[in-house]
């Protein structure tokens, strides 16, 4: 039997409009109804957003395949602001963000790196490392701003320019209004804005389309065998804090080796390894 098409704007059967029937309207029923309604509302929002989105909003991979699987439609759209929250310096958020930048610039689009002039306390981008991450330096422009005002101005100018692949910036102390302006500028230019921010802002509202929290995982917590301990790999946990058109809260543990290939760390691997050690 064919289902009747549901017109846009009308609630589905079994949504909030469905009356409860006696004792069957138990908690389970209410919960199911609420879930359907939320799913329906999400779909409607997604449609409205898709209609509002600029025509050039093509999907692209994040550069890290396991991460793509967590995101709706398997990636991010161009013209998006992506926040990478780093728990602390040395956590690996920059490596993941650069993977995304490399993906956004593969067509020969320029990568623009914006940073404050002078030597920041945590250090600046190191070009040989950028090169080691697969970034082509001849297609990279470094913009050095004098203060935060200039930094925001430069970011907005770059993001509004059509054809820029990605913009990368350590964003510290940016207010909500500034972030909103950056998101709007990103939508105009169609590039990708990658902001690296401290994890302390995780409770602030997110104006971007995607917010990811990167936390380091230690290999010494018993999850790795003695042989694995000295292999050139590092483990990172990526948690989706916010994603436009999808549900946040998912997380994945990644293991990146020195050649840049990535694999998902099975949650059972650690238990099995520790169990083996106990038996031995």
């Amino acid at each position: 039997m064919n289902q009747q098409p549901v017109p846009v704007g009308s609630l589905p059967a079994g949504g909030v409009g469905r009356p409860l029937q006696g004792d069957a309207a138990s908690d389970i029923g209410v919960e199911l109804g609420a879930r359907q309604t939320v799913a329906w509302l999400r779909e409607q929002l997604h449609r409205f957003e898709a209609a509002r989105r600029p025509a050039c909003s093509e999907r692209m991979s994040t550069g890290w395949e396991p991460l793509d699987r967590l995101l709706p439609a398997g990636g991010v759209t161009r013209g998006s602001l992506v926040e990478w929250l780093s728990a602390a310096p040395g956590c690996g958020a920059g490596t993941l963000a650069l993977g995304m930048a490399r993906q956004a610039c593969w067509e020969g689009r320029p990568l623009v790196v914006v940073e404050r002039r002078g030597e920041p306390r945590q250090g600046g981008w190191y070009p040989p490392a950028l090169c080691g991450q697969g970034i082509l330096l001849e297609q990279t422009i470094l913009v050095r701003a004098g203060d935060r005002g200039e930094e925001l101005w430069a970011l907005e100018q770059v993001l509004r320019t059509e054809g820029v692949g990605a913009v990368l910036c350590w964003a510290e102390g940016f207010g909500q209004r500034a972030l909103r302006r950056l998101q709007l500028a990103t939508e105009v230019g169609g590039g990708l804005c990658l902001l690296l921010r401290p994890a302390s802002v995780r409770t602030e509202p997110c104006w971007g389309r995607l917010r990811l929290l990167v936390e380091p995982l230690s290999m010494s917590d018993g999850s790795a065998s003695a042989a694995e301990m000295w292999v050139n790999v590092r483990r990172l946990r990526v948690r989706v804090m916010h994603v436009h058109g999808g549900a946040g809260g998912q997380q994945v543990d990644l293991e990146i080796d020195e050649t840049g290939s990535v694999r998902v760390v099975s949650p059972l691997a650690g238990r099995a390894a520790s169990h083996k050690r106990r038996r031995a």
Binding site: G90, Q122, G132
Partner: protein, 509 residues
């Protein structure tokens, strides 16, 4: 008199004004020595013709005039070969082909800017001219043919010195004629019958028996606009209008010549005679007034201006405009060099030239010196790359490109190790002192104390010894370690071998 520039292509005149036509600028300098200066074009390299008839009393002699002129050009970095003769054609031939004159020739005198030049003998057929005498100073050599002896002076020169048609030269060579003297020895009537009137006309011009006109070269155009305000102004709107008008006055005649602005100078004078100088540099030539005005105003925003009494806009450097045909099909939202160039110009105007840089690797083992930032951004990589990357993305190609970049990075830092994503930290900082605990002396670190926090180190890789820079002041001897803390953070630390102190140099973000 003729002045020929043997190294014209390699050197440009040091001028502070318009460089649209450098030879015309040089001709303008020569205007103070001769009332009639003309250009010789079409035969590279280029030359100038000067009429110096009757100017001896002003400079003592023709040689004195020539010495002063050539010395003046030499001070501006120009290397010159000059000749004085009865006719323009003979002067050009002696200036251009003076290397064919035998040493110690009795038919003409040779003067030069130094002893080294006088004794310098070049092989026939080559310019064979040292570029400069000293640092930045151009050398010169002058040949003076006595009046009425042009035929003797021209005799040793090759037939090319007569500016004969190119199709005639092989025929003459086949007949065994190489030098002008051999041609002059032949009967004139036979020459006309065999080779045509062109040959006779050229011979007459060279010997001064036929007239030749020097087409005068006017002063080079100056693209500038000056505006004196009736009353001092401070309002931004008024200043904007004035600058827009001045820019239009500068740009319009420039655009009519097919040229665009590359560098522009704007001088604003206040009522207390203070002067603000704004310099706008573009990556590509442009004639759009709105864009130029925006760049000037971006710089003005950073100044605190008092009331202004005058404004001057002047073209410093211009280049031919670049035209690009639009493609029939849309290339999509790929990088558009025009937009990118404008973005860079806006950024450079507001942040300064050092605010927009391009990075490159330097083959230096010292981490701080392994890269270089160049202020001039080359946008050519984005020109014409549109089609190269069209189509679906080949996955293997991406990997190989990334690997290639990685290898080049490794070569740049002088390593031959296996390519590694974790070879260098993503953020490099000034070395910060840290305290490190090792189990054995000079052993790998086990504990790191930094900014009041202790990190137990779970994994370490190293040491990687870097010992370099002995030829400069900052000689370094370091053992680098990549370490992972128990919480999973990665640091790049080193031990200074001179005193055993530890420093944090970067983080693997």
């Amino acid at each position: 008199m003729c002045v020929w520039f043997p190294h014209w292509r390699g050197e440009q005149p040091r001028t502070s004004g318009d460089v649209l036509d450098p030879l015309a600028v040089v001709a303008g300098w020569c205007g103070s020595f001769s009332p009639l200066v003309g250009l010789v074009r079409g035969i590279p390299p280029e030359a100038l013709l000067l009429d110096i008839t009757g100017l001896e009393p002003l400079f003592g002699s023709e040689e004195g005039l020539a010495r002063q002129l050539l010395h003046s050009l030499g001070r501006r970095g120009l290397t010159t070969c000059a000749a004085i003769a009865d006719a323009p054609a003979a002067a050009w031939a002696l200036a251009r082909w003076q290397m064919w004159l035998p040493p110690g020739s009795a038919c003409c005198r040779v003067l030069s800017s130094g002893e080294a030049m006088a004794s310098f003998q070049a092989p026939r057929g080559s310019h064979g001219f040292p570029a400069t005498l000293g640092a930045g100073e151009g050398a010169w050599r002058l040949v003076v043919a006595p009046p009425g002896r042009a035929a003797d002076a021209l005799a040793p020169l090759p037939l090319e010195a007569l500016r004969l048609p190119s199709e005639l030269l092989p025929t003459l060579r086949e007949l065994g004629l190489v030098q002008v003297g051999e041609l002059l020895a032949l009967e004139r009537a036979a020459l006309g019958a065999r080779f045509g009137q062109v040959l006779l006309a050229r011979l007459d011009q060279a010997l001064g028996q036929a007239g030749e006109v020097i087409v005068p070269c006017g002063p080079p155009p100056r693209f500038e606009s000056r505006l004196a305000f009736e009353t001092p102004i401070q309002q931004a709107d008024l200043l904007r209008m004035a600058l827009a008008r001045q820019l239009t006055e500068v740009v319009e005649p420039l655009a009519a010549r097919g040229q665009g602005v590359v560098e522009l100078e704007c001088r604003l004078r206040g009522e207390r005679q203070e002067e603000h100088r704004l310099c706008v540099r573009l990556f590509r030539p442009s004639v759009e007034v709105a864009h130029l005005l925006e760049l000037v105003l971006l710089q003005l925003e950073r100044l605190s201006l008092c009331p202004l009494v005058s404004s001057e806009v002047r073209l410093v450097c211009g280049r031919p405009l670049e035209y690009r045909q639009h493609s029939l099909f849309d290339d999509g939202p790929r990088c558009q060099p025009n937009l990118l160039a404008r973005l860079l110009e806006r950024l450079a105007s507001r942040l300064g030239l050092q605010g927009v840089v391009q990075l490159s690797l330097v083959p230096d083992a010292q981490p701080e010196s392994a890269w270089h930032a160049e202020a001039a951004v080359d946008i050519s990589p984005w020109w014409g790359q549109q089609r190269q990357h069209k189509g679906s993305r080949p996955r293997r190609a991406k990997k190989s490109a990334a690997f290639g970049a990685l290898c080049s990075a490794e070569q740049a830092v002088g390593r031959t190790r296996t390519a590694s994503l974790f070879l260098r930290p993503l953020r490099l900082q000034q070395p910060a002192p840290v305290q490190v605990v090792s189990l054995v002396p000079d052993g790998p670190p086990r504990m790191l104390r930094y900014q009041g926090r202790e990190y137990r180190l779970a994994r370490t890789w190293g040491p990687e010894r870097i010992e370099t820079g002995w030829w400069r002041e900052g000689r370094i001897r370091r053992d680098y370690f990549r370490v992972e803390s128990a919480c999973g953070r990665w640091f790049w630390i080193f031990r200074r071998l001179e005193d055993g102190h530890w420093f944090l140099h970067g983080t693997f973000d």
